[in-house]
Every structure is written in structure tokens, then in C-alpha cells.
């Protein structure tokens, strides 16, 4: 089979090599990648022999292996080195400006960021105008990349970041007479960047680029590292800002941190400055989220450069919400209850009275414990059903899916870190008082829930979709059956044939349970997303951890961990939807 394919490719090659002008060739002809792409592009750009094109399509898998190997070539390596260098330089600059505000000021950091943003925009314009215009540039689209929730999140957080930039401009215009103009220039550049980048990812997130691959790889890692440096800068700025504000009920001395910010002789020329400043710091978390979303999309695009995908593997599944009722009903109840307690919390926590604030914390903790317990319970049921359920694991390789799983697990790390640090602090101080005890239970349940949910989602994504198995059952073709049963011949026959019994309309009880669990978890994740995304920060309203770790460190932990936690919840919602569809 392999040698046949090779011969066909070679024949096609010989046929075309006389017809195709040589100027399409870029770079060194010795580069395997270019050669393979040439093959590929020649087949698709001017197909005089349809059978050849068919053959090439059929053997896409073989060529893909070649291309994937070529990933280890020059462009891949160079783009990696560029990414590492920008990231570490950015990290050094950001920490330098945080720890030593004399020699490296925010202005230096912002100049560096402006340069990065301009370079990235230049590349994006170049890509949009030059590369993607050519017919051969994007022959394939990865239907898994840039899903709707990521695109929608990008636009939503992009708009809120834009608002932040507008507030920033308005604030720093008032300081222009005594502060650097860079502080106005940076939000202007960033606002333009937000437009360009959001447009770029909206249009091109699914591209599998085949032309100028080396340049595109470098451009995408530039985008990735720019977003990560912006993320680092935003996290640091927010942490520093939080340490500046005197906390209401925390008797930690802020003198040490305030020393460097104390000499603010520069006064704003108009009175609304402080309001604007308050407002834009409130919008920082959205900008942090935006950078994370954009980084994820840039990374997926980078992985897809030079990939050849066969689109037909994407099954369109109908979404039939009528199949389930208990899960969504409980989920909606939970969302409504969560919203109510969230509003009570937000109102009460700002009050001066200690009793009101403690009540707000009490309600918030109890609500979260209830949510976590119900989620853990339902996930456990789901996991048990998986053990009983003998569906096959998916056999085909799916880079986007493994990337998705990686992002999911990576993002869950943020919430894991916050919870474990809470647990250690609370256990070490022996969790005195009902609030501490509740906080500890919440943290322990969160760890449990995260572990279970990760297991449930990954296991669910790796199972063969039910409708595929039904198709296999409907085609009562002996060969198709054989392929499916290939690995399960030692399983006794009544078990392997069970998947053929359910009829089209009535799902069996295992599918039903899985769907209910998915629907419930999906809605629960939505409320767990809403609460921290729109301002619930019990981590700062409750003093135990702050006292234990000192404010600066705790602020760093929460400000790094929480945005990942929020990203994790959104990602979970999307993944659970997918699990729902294939269950």
C-alpha cells in the first residue's frame, strides 16, 4: 500500500515537474518540507488528472506523516527559539520593573510592549494581505481549531479590554503634563492591536497554512509570546495595584510596598481621573483573559502550520436537548441559586459592617460547597457509567484534541494551585472558626471536583462517538463489523454486540445518564465561571491566607491562578458540550 502510494506520488510529480514554473519554489530544494509541500500544492492548484488528485487525497495520511516529521526542521526550531527569547526577556523586564522601580520603570516595559505589539501587527497585516491571499496558501482548514466559544470569548474580552484601554487613555491624558507620553501611547497601540488581532483570529484561526511556513511559524510564535508578555505584565500590574490599596480588614503593613509609590507628586488635571483609574483596574482581569485566549489560539494555529487535514472525519451531530431533563433542570436551579447568592455577596461584601461581610462570605462558601459536592457526586456517577460502558476508544490520531486536553489540564493547574495553597494555610492555622472550616471544605472539594472532572472529560472525549457505532451497526457489512471488532475478539460476544442493540430514537440508560451528567456539569461550570469572572474574590475578602502567605505572595498566586481557573471553566463548558454530543 505504501509503495503503491509512493509510486503514484512520483508519477504525479514527474507529470507536473515539467509543467509547473519553478519560481513557485521557495527556499532550498533540499528541504523535505518544501518538497512535500510542492507535491501537495501542485496536486491541488492545477489538477489536470483527477485520479491523481484522488490518489493524493487518499494518501493524505501518508504525506501527513512526512510533513509532521518535517516539523522538526528549521522553521519549527527557529520559531521556538524566538518564542523562548522574547518570553524570557519579557519575564526579566516585567520582574525587573516590579522589583526595582528605579532603574526599570513602567515606561521601559511599555516601550518594549509597544515594539512587540507593532511587530505582531505588521506580521498579521503581512499574513492577511500576502500569504492568505494566494490560492495555495490555505488549502486546508482545521474544523476543530478556533471553536465558537473561544471566538466568542475573544470578542467579549476584547471589547472589555478595549474599554480598559479607553479608560487608561483618559486617565493618563490627565497626567501628560508631568508623566511620560508613553503611558498614553501604550493603550492607543494596544487598542489598535485588539482590533487587528481579534479580526485576525476571527478570520484565520482555522487555517492550516501551506505557504511561507517558516515565516508563518515565526510570526505565530511572535504573536504567542507577545500575548504572553502582555499577560505577564497585566498580572504583575494588577498584583502591584492590589498591594497598593489598603485592605479593609487586613492588618498587614503595606509600608514596605507603598514606599516606592508614595512619592506621587504628579496630580491629575481633571477630577474624574480617580474614577477612571478605579474602573480600568476593575477591567484588568478581562484583559488577562483576552491574552490567554489569544495565546491559546496562536498556539493552535502554530501547531496547524503545514498540517494536511482530511475534513470528512468531522461528523455533524444533531443537538437534541429533549433527550435529557433532570440534569438541565438541576443545572438551571443551581445557576439561578448561584446568581442570587452571587448578587447578595457582591452587595454585602462592600459594606463596612463586619457582620454583613461575614454573612456574605458564609453564603458564598456554603453555595460553593453545595455546587462542588453536587458536581463531584454527578461526575462520580458519570465515571462509574464509563466503567460499565464498553465503548471503544477513538483510534485515529487527533492533534487538536490532544492539544485541547493539554490546555484543559494546564488551565486546571491554576485552580489546583489556589486550592492547595488554601488547604496548607488553613490546616497549618488549624482552621479555627466556622468561616475557615467552610473555606477548607470548599478547597478540598474543589481539588476533588477538578480531578474527577478532568478524568470525566478526557475519558469522554476519547470514547468512540455513539452515532459512529450506530452507523457501523446499520451498515451490516461484515467487513465494517470486523474492523470495529478487531481488537475486541477476546471479549465475549454478548458484550461486544451490546453496542448494536440501541435503536436510533431511544437512547439506552447509560447514554441517558451520561448526557444528564454532562448537561448538569455544563451548567454548573457556567455558574462557576460567572462568579469569579465578574468579581467575586473571597480569596481577598477572607484574611487567613493573606496573613499566612503575606499579601504580596498571595496576590501573585491568586492573580496567576484565577485567570487560568476562569479559562478552565469556559473550556470545560465547551468540552462537556462535545462529550454530550458524542455520548
Amino acid at each position: 500500500m505504501r509503495t503503491v502510494a509512493q509510486k503514484m506520488l512520483q508519477t504525479c510529480n514527474k507529470l507536473f515537474s515539467r509543467k509547473t514554473p519553478n519560481d513557485v519554489l521557495e527556499g532550498h530544494p533540499s528541504n523535505i518540507e518544501t518538497a512535500a509541500q510542492m507535491d501537495n500544492i501542485q496536486h491541488f492548484s492545477s489538477p489536470p488528472n483527477p485520479s491523481c488528485v484522488e490518489a493524493a487525497r487518499e494518501h493524505a495520511h501518508h504525506v501527513e506523516a512526512v510533513i509532521e516529521r518535517a516539523h522538526h526542521g528549521g522553521g519549527w526550531l527557529l520559531s521556538g527559539i524566538i518564542c523562548i527569547n522574547i518570553l524570557i526577556l519579557g519575564c526579566a523586564l516585567v520582574s525587573g520593573s516590579a522589583f526595582n522601580s528605579v532603574a526599570i520603570t513602567a515606561v521601559h516595559r511599555q516601550i518594549f510592549l509597544i515594539i512587540l505589539l507593532l511587530l505582531t501587527m505588521l506580521w498579521m497585516l503581512f499574513y492577511t494581505v500576502v500569504t492568505s491571499r494566494k490560492e495555495q496558501a490555505v488549502v486546508f482548514k482545521d474544523s476543530h481549531a478556533g471553536p465558537v466559544w473561544l471566538q466568542a470569548g475573544l470578542v467579549l474580552f476584547g471589547l472589555l479590554s478595549l474599554l480598559m484601554d479607553i479608560f487608561k487613555m483618559a486617565t493618563y491624558v490627565g497626567y501628560l503634563h508631568c508623566d511620560s507620553a508613553v503611558k498614553v501611547a501604550f493603550p492607543v497601540v494596544q487598542a489598535v492591536f485588539l482590533f487587528v488581532q481579534t479580526y485576525f483570529f476571527w478570520v484565520h484561526a482555522k487555517d492550516c497554512v501551506q505557504l511561507h511556513t517558516n515565516l508563518t511559524r515565526c510570526g505565530l510564535t511572535l504573536t504567542l509570546s507577545t500575548n504572553l508578555v502582555v499577560w505577564m505584565a497585566a498580572v504583575t500590574e494588577e498584583s502591584l495595584h492590589q498591594t497598593e490599596i489598603p485592605e479593609l480588614n487586613v492588618n498587614v503593613s503595606h509600608k514596605m510596598y507603598r514606599a516606592s509609590y508614595g512619592e506621587k507628586k504628579c496630580k491629575c488635571t481633571f477630577s474624574v481621573c480617580d474614577t477612571f483609574k478605579e474602573a480600568f483596574y476593575y477591567l484588568y482581569p478581562f484583559n488577562i483573559e483576552y491574552s490567554l485566549f489569544a495565546s491559546a489560539m496562536a498556539y493552535v494555529m502554530w501547531k496547524n502550520v503545514g498540517r494536511l487535514v482530511d475534513d470528512h472525519s468531522h461528523h455533524h451531530v444533531k443537538f437534541r436537548p429533549k433527550e435529557v431533563c433532570f440534569g438541565p433542570f438541576m443545572g438551571i436551579l443551581l445557576v439561578v441559586a448561584g446568581l442570587v447568592t452571587f448578587i447578595i455577596y457582591e452587595v454585602d461584601i462592600l459594606k463596612e459592617d463586619e457582620g454583613h461581610r461575614n454573612r456574605a462570605l458564609l453564603i458564598h462558601f456554603v453555595m460553593n460547597i453545595v455546587i462542588m459536592s453536587l458536581m463531584s457526586l454527578s461526575t462520580m456517577i458519570g465515571c462509574i457509567v464509563y466503567r460499565l460502558d464498553h465503548r471503544e476508544h477513538v483510534s485515529e490520531k487527533n492533534p487538536t484534541r490532544s492539544l485541547d486536553v493539554g490546555l484543559l489540564v494546564g488551565a486546571s493547574m491554576g485552580q489546583f494551585i489556589i486550592s492547595y495553597f488554601s488547604i496548607v494555610a488553613l490546616v497549618a492555622t488549624r482552621a479555627r472558626g466556622y468561616l475557615n472550616a467552610l473555606n477548607l471544605s470548599w478547597a478540598v472539594l474543589t481539588v476533588l471536583q477538578l480531578g474527577l472532572q478532568n478524568y470525566f472529560i478526557i475519558e469522554g472525549l476519547n470514547r468512540e462517538p455513539f452515532h459512529v457505532m450506530q452507523e457501523a451497526a446499520l451498515h451490516t457489512n461484515a467487513h465494517a463489523f470486523q474492523e470495529h471488532a478487531e481488537m475486541s475478539t477476546i471479549i465475549d460476544s454478548n458484550k461486544s454486540s451490546y453496542c448494536l442493540t440501541p435503536s436510533e430514537d431511544k437512547p439506552n440508560w447509560k447514554r441517558r445518564v451520561l448526557k444528564e451528567v454532562c448537561a448538569f456539569l455544563l451548567l454548573a461550570n457556567i455558574i462557576l465561571w460567572i462568579m469569579p469572572a465578574f468579581g467575586a474574590r473571597p480569596q481577598f475578602d477572607h484574611p487567613t491566607e493573606i496573613k499566612f502567605y503575606q499579601f504580596k505572595m498571595w496576590a501573585a498566586i491568586v492573580n496567576i491562578g484565577l485567570p487560568f481557573g476562569i479559562f478552565y471553566r469556559m473550556h470545560s463548558v465547551a468540552s462537556l458540550f462535545e462529550v454530550y454530543l458524542i455520548s
Copy 2:
């Protein structure tokens, strides 16, 4: 081809399923992994039909794909979740004990570590006694895993860690009347652990375990996370210890850091205590290295669980050192010069006199700049030769190699971080004085050299070995030629046939240059390994960065970054040796 293989596998299966007793089956029969392994084990343990075994051997690649997919199953996931949980809990405990020495003391951390060490040892004993004894457990060995340099490094650093533990025991026995007994128990347990673990990796590092895979995966991630937690604890302890010692020429106030250590009323009962304490802190870097080495080996073993390797892909290449002369000669010169300046540095830096110390720093900086420049230059020559050289890239998938490359790039991150933080500090303070200027040049050249060397090594490892190409030339089999030339048909024929011209004995100039470059870089990396590994710490002897970032932060950066840097140099030596052999 695929369907034929499937049919053969099924036939084999049916043949055996009657003969094999069912009690070999562990876990759920629905698990694909178990099923596939069963196939495999059945084929190899009692082969009644040699043609069947042959067929199975031949189609190992196909089965491997199935097994690799099954990696995403239960054990893989569970072991990952265990690893994350232990790591983050360890991280929280270690930071808790570093930042808050009241509620969480070193004793708590050490109790946690003792539990981890005991659990890991228990698993290792279980593995050695139960799993690996069974005949079917380890049918395959990965010849790439656990190379000699890693094994040798593990033993060397293990011995030095053992020395550290002995000193620790001797010290804390003197404090027994007023301090916790845990401080004596911990080094005792760790010493036993060092023996058990070093033996374990010495014997089992190459195993591709096929039995109890889920348990083995969990055990290996337990080993991995234990080593990483030990590493974290050691790094933190060393950083805290360094901030305790008043630096000679640094006028940073240590009051803040000393506050928590000031109340040491507990006195040692014998006089040599302080000498022991001095000695064991000097040995900390070796323990840090040991943990990193062990982590790397545990990770490789974890990746190899359930893998089926065909050993015949390992070519034995003769090492003929006579082929090259200029590179090794220059390299040896560099090593000797480096050793001389290193000794001068170590002697002079301890003197009270400012002039002597500055001279020592001057010599050290100049020597490092010379080494880095020569290395960058030779690596650039090597990279140019790669561009001229049209050897094919390796087509077969090699997980150990990609892991190796990952470890190489990951470890280089440590040196990158130190260099970039230096650059930022020096540029921000405008690098006044000759020492600062030299330090800056050194840092910039290091970044350049690291980037180039990473490129050179990865590119070298991904090229088809020369001897393989010669073999292809010697077998003047038309089919073999066709397979090789498969992708290069559009390259004109004189280029693609060049690789067939060199005779067996006299390498052409390109090979010669590559070998010279490899030999030179190898020796240069050895001296760059020796200097920091045996105590050269210009990062702490030169005050600019300490003043800029404050001592605590700079100590953390160097103590995390430098061990990775040392690991990187050793890894580079091994990789360059491999590149030398295949060039």
C-alpha cells in the same frame, strides 16, 4: 496491508484463546490496552507457531499505534492526576514553610517528604520483587533510555548526596536535646532512598513495562513527583541558607530575612557541628542535580510503559577518534585553560582583599567570554555546513529522541533565564565599570551560544546518519535507492547522488567539519559543566544583580536556573557525542 495484518492477528488470537489460561487477564477485558497487551504477551511467551510471531513482530508498528492511543486510558490519566496533586501540595508546603516559618516549620515539610520517600521505596521494592520478576513483564528494553552519562551522573551525584546526608545526620544529632528528632530521621530515610532509587534506575531504567501497567504508571509518577518535591525543598533551603550568610561585599540589609532565624537558642553539643553544617550546605547543589537526574529517568520510564520497541533500529557505530584532530586539540586547550582559571578564581575569590577578588572575577569573565565566542563561532560554522549538506531528515518516529530534545530545550531554559535577568539588570544600570561590561558581554554571548547550540544539536539529531546512507549506497538495489530518493525526485540528480560518492574510509570535508565542531563543542561543554558544578558562583560574587533584584529574588533565580544549566551542559555533551557518531 493493514487488513492483512488484522486478519493475521485475529487468527493468532483465535488460536491462542483456547490454550491460554484466563487468569493471566488482569483488569477489565473491555480495556483495549489489556487486550492488545494480551495479544502481544501471548505471542511472545509461548510461540507455538513461528510464522505468527514473525507476523506480530513485523506489525509491531501497527500495534504500537494502538498501544499509544491506549495511553490516553485510565492509568495514564490517573497517574497524571496523582503527579499534579503531589507536586502542587508539595509546592504549597515548601512555599508555606519558606514564607511562614511559624505555622509550617521545616519539620512539617520533612515529615511530608519522609512519607513520600517511604511510599516511593515501597513501590520500587514491589516493582523489583513482583512485577519485573514475571517473564512477560519486560519483554522490550528501550536502548535509548537511561544512557550511560545519565546513569553515571546519577551514581556520582548520589554518592555526594549520601555524603550530604551523613553530614546532616552528624549535625542534627548534636541538636537532638533541643530540636526535633525528625531532622535526624529525614537524612536517614533519604540515605536509604538514595541507595534504593539508584539501584532501581541502574537496573530498570531501560524497561518498557508490559504488566500491571496502570500501577507502574502511578508508581513512576509518584517517583517523579517525589524527586521534584525533594528538588523544590532543596532549592528553597539553599536559597534561604544563602540569604542567612552575610555576603562579603554586598551592603544589602539582611535584617529582614534574618529576623525569622535570629532566635536560635539551641546550641550544638559538640564543636565540629558548624563545620559539618558548612560542609553539607556546600553539597546541596549535588543533591539538587541528583533529583533532576532521577526525575528525568522516571519520566522516560513512565513514557515507556506499555511501549513496544523493535530493537533492530539501533545501529552500532564505531567511534573512531582519529578522524578528527583540530577540534579535540582546541577543545583540550580550552579545558586546560578553563581549569587553570577556575582554580585561580576559586583561590582568589575567598580573599578579603577587594583587588584580588576583582582580578578573579575579571579572569573568570574573560575566560567565559573567550569560551562562548569560540563556541558560537564553531556552532555557526556547523550550522552553515548543515545548510550546504543535503542529508535527509530521519523519517521514523522516535519518542525517546523527541523526549531528549524536550529535556535539552527545557534544561537550557535555566541558563537562558539567568542570562536574560543579568542582561536586564546590567543594561538598566548602564553597565558602569569594566566588570559590568564584561558580565554583560558574557550574558549576551551565552544567550547567542545557547540558541545556536540548541539549533545545532536538534538539527544534527534529526539528520539521517551517514552510515545508513552509505549502506543504502552499498546495496545497489534499485528498490532501496528508490525508497531513499522518494521525496527528492525534484532535486536535480547531481545533488541527490552526492551522498553516494564518499568512500568508506575518507570522510568528505563536510562530515569532517561537522565532526570537528562536535568534538570541540563537546569538550567546551565539559569545562562549562565543571566550573559551576564545582562551585564557581560569579552570580553571587558580583554585586550588580544582587543590588538590582534584591538578594532573595536573585538567589531564587540562580538556585533554580543554575542546576538546570548544569544538567543542560551534561545533556549537551551526551547529545553532541551522538551527533558526532551519526555525522
